[in-house]
């Protein structure tokens, strides 16, 4: 991996806006990460697990019927085929290995859709670590199968009742746990958000999917894509995908956020498309907030996109004009969800369905690569109830 310094800032974004208690722990984490990423032993163990345990590389799949429908070539990067059902395991494996190196016996995680919680609970079972997962009670309701999965894996799932009872409150509660138990616990944050060094660590652990996709598309199609598309909640599958293509200036890069009930309704999860600069969960980025700087509740049918903040590096790539952010409503995402089921025989996560919905509605170029970040088994009840 890289030997460059760990970024604390991406343009004006990022930083470490956390209680003083955590600053030494962030320094410790950064030092451990710098050491691990240059240690061939760590690299070897992680890539071995990604291959033999998680199922990497995941395929880049030419989706024939979607391609026919839109009249251009569409490839799906199949993160839904990873062990545990999403890209989240890339990061959870890397961070849990890191925690073990640091001698931490207890793992804290937050989860929205439950995918990161399941991935972390899985790693904790594998490495014999204690695991506590914070999850908003609204998400516990709508992602029930993942809660049961985490408990089967031996994790303790703690329901969070505050606020809208979704991902934002789960992250806050996980951070409070970490402030309290910082000595023996590592916080495995699930997205490319949070105080430095987290956004850089999560990106580095997720870029395996983008690097694979780039090599695979060149191998399959003999060229780079015209467009690369991924959904964005906090943005870990997006930044993991995008960073492999950022230097390819001819490739257009699009991040798709949740428009919820519609951007104009105010009930959405699209801070990058609409939000102002603000601080949430330890870093400065695009944030949904009011005049007084109070963080607003996000809204999305998809628990993984139901978040008023976003990764700081994505905000910077937006300002630089390198990545464009669009948003798709709940309704459009559900239509796309069903379409992928019927046309390709793939049940996609509602999160990924947002990216598909944008792709279906927006012609352009001849070759698209879309990251299908996870599978949708967890979403059946939510989709069927509509």
């Amino acid at each position: 991996m890289s030997s460059s310094p760990v970024e604390h800032r991406f343009g004006p974004y990022g930083g470490r806006y956390v209680p003083e208690t955590l600053v030494p722990a962030l320094d410790e984490l950064e030092a451990a990460w710098v050491q691990a990423r240059s240690d061939p032993g760590y690299e070897r163990e992680l890539s071995g697990l990604l291959r033999d345990y998680a199922g990497r590389p995941t395929p880049l799949y030419l989706a024939p019927r979607i391609s026919e429908e839109v009249g251009r070539t569409v490839y799906f990067k199949r993160e839904d085929l990873m062990h545990t059902g999403s890209h989240k395991l890339n990061n959870a494996l890397g961070q849990c290995l890191l925690a073990r190196r640091m001698g931490k016996k207890r793992i804290i995680a937050e989860t929205g859709a439950g995918q990161h919680g399941v991935a972390t609970a899985t790693c904790c079972a594998l490495f014999d670590l204690e695991c506590v997962v914070y999850m908003g009670t609204e998400d516990v309701r709508r992602q029930k199968p993942n809660v049961e999965r985490m408990e089967l894996l031996g994790a303790k799932v703690v329901g969070v009742e505050a606020g809208a009872r979704t991902l934002k409150e789960a992250v806050s509660e996980a951070i409070r746990d970490w402030v309290t138990n910082v000595g023996d616990s590592h916080y495995v944050i699930g997205s490319a958000v949070g105080p430095a060094p987290y956004p850089a660590i999560v990106r580095d652990l997720q870029r395996v999917l983008g690097d694979e996709a780039r090599a695979q598309v060149i191998d399959h199609a003999g060229r780079l894509p015209d467009r690369v598309i991924a959904c964005v909640g906090g943005g870990s599958n997006a930044i993991g995908t995008f960073c492999a293509f950022v230097a390819d200036t001819e490739v257009e890069i699009i991040g798709v956020e949740a428009a919820g009930d519609g951007i104009d309704s105010g009930r959405h999860g699209a801070p990058l498309a609409t939000g102002a600069r603000g601080i949430l969960h330890g870093s400065m980025s695009a944030v949904l907030q009011d005049e007084d700087g109070q963080i607003l509740e996000a809204h999305s049918i998809s628990a993984g996109l139901d978040y008023p903040g976003s990764g700081p590096q994505l905000a910077h790539l937006r300002d630089e004009g390198r990545v464009r952010f669009e948003a798709v409503t709940d309704e459009e995402a559900v239509v796309a969800f069903k379409k992928v089921c019927r046309l390709e025989g793939i049940v996609p996560a509602l999160e990924s369905s947002h990216a598909v919905a944008w792709l279906l509605a927006n012609p352009g170029g001849e070759l698209d690569v879309l990251t299908l970040s996870g599978r949708g088994d967890k979403d059946l009840a939510e989709v069927l109830s509509r």
């Binding site: 806006y17 209680p19 309290t180 109070q294």
Partner: protein, 239 residues
Amino acid sequence: MPYLMGGYPDIDTSRASVLAAVEAGADLVELGIPFSDPLADGPVIHAAATAALDAGVTLSEVLALCESVAGEVPVVLMVYANPVLAHGAEHFVRRAAGAGAAGIIVPDLPHDEAGAVREACTAQGVALVPLVAPTSSDHRVEEIARDAQGFVYAVSLTGTTGERAELPRELERTVGRVKGATELPVAVGFGVSTGEHARRVADVADGVIVGSRVVRAAGEGGAPAVHRLVGELAEALAA
């Protein structure tokens, strides 16, 4: 030094509670500006902030409350980083100074991120009171103390705010490390909830900050309950 949440349970009760605390012997009042995502706070202060925001309390109202009591007692505003930086540090600090605040405490703005806010505070004559934690290295304690204004806030424990049955053993050591690094007064908060705690803190530190216990009193019994509690704490310290 009691902490009260601005606008909790409502603006009038919170003003009356500040004045009651002063009458009962408070030397300084920390006034919380309610925030949607208070990462450093435990359940009591978090719930009070949520209740205030749900009732529609705004930043302007809390600053007006500050202004109305600042003649009676030094007021230090406890405010999270996002409201401070939403319109730029200078804008916020100018408003705080206009409301008569003696200082501000920003619990999620560690030393390394505080540059712009500190500059604005220096320019406006408002103290930026930094926090030191038990986990801060000696080197960090020195850096933090060097740039401190007003006083240094020593966090007694690793954790969020909230009442505790006992204070941690490392308390004296933490305070000692801060005292060794600065001539400024050192106040201790987080977890301090009884007269006995207050006495133990006062043995080593210059100020005793009681937050969640006072906020709970304000919620349960309004100004009279705050008066009674602060009176008891002051008495314990005088004994």
